[in-house]
Assembly symmetry: C2
Homo-oligomer: 159 residues x 2
């Protein structure tokens, strides 16, 4: 006969419990530092910046330091094979610009932002705070951050 | 008084059970189709190919269709800002070449390969099969695949 022990049956299986924890992961717990350039910087300088900082996505801001655009490696690669002098073209000419930008806040769920990265086929989004004169960039959430979350889950961290 | 019910206590918590499932995820269950070019293709054609296929990593093979190198967006961007005619430089000049290439097999654990992507700061690795004359590329495992695994976990798929 099976031993009868005094544990509650919660109606939840093991996988449900872990999924609940995963579902509570916030962007703010996994985000990285954002790399930002002014919209008048040249495409060439933005590319150099991307290599120096070793990031795949750079955010572009206006004179009030508010988000106006995004530059991915793909955007910069496209520009670099065009027949133009990269040192004289400002990034605002080639960037993906507001309002066509996906972004998130530090309080957003990591799973929702991961879903956005997948659906929009982008490597990263800015983590922003809304201000009176626009969006302030406070972080960067990339596929690398999402991969790290999975690896940490596998190691029982955050659990 | 607490109700006494006849469930076994396995000694495992919910998070342990889910972690065990996550730890069994295989590369083969999440990999994508690989995009491959010959090592004599020009850098320009490789870039065009990257845009046409919309991938971030292209694999380079020799005349026996065995892996000899990898081209990332970063490699191609670096080459494109150099002062060279991209249509006349073959990819084998600029690619990351064997044996300095990280790769995996379809039977490898997704978590281990995710860890490799993070540690080596790369976007993707080839999924290969070992043959007598080298490595045959059978798939591609990228940070996007890893992000999808996390989102599926959150949705209770694969569980």
């Amino acid at each position: 006969a099976r031993p009868r022990v005094g544990y509650f049956f919660t109606g939840k299986t093991g996988s449900e419990l872990l999924t609940e924890k995963l579902k509570k992961f916030k962007v703010g717990d996994f985000q990285s530092i954002p790399i930002v350039v002014d919209e008048n910087v040249s495409v060439y300088d933005a590319i150099v910046n991307m290599f120096l900082e070793d990031v795949g996505t750079i955010f572009v801001t206006n004179e009030n330091a508010k988000l106006t655009g995004i530059l991915s490696r793909k955007d910069l690669l496209r520009a670099s094979i065009g027949n133009q002098d990269l040192t004289s073209v400002p990034v605002h000419i080639i960037m993906t610009r507001m309002p066509n930008i996906a972004y998130c806040s530090a309080e957003d769920l990591l799973l929702d932002t991961a879903q956005t990265l997948i659906e929009r086929q982008i490597d990263g989004v800015p983590v922003v705070e809304e201000k009176e004169d626009g969006l302030e960039v406070v972080g960067r959430l990339t596929k690398t951050n999402v991969a790290k979350a999975l690896v940490e889950l596998g190691r029982d961290e955050h659990l």
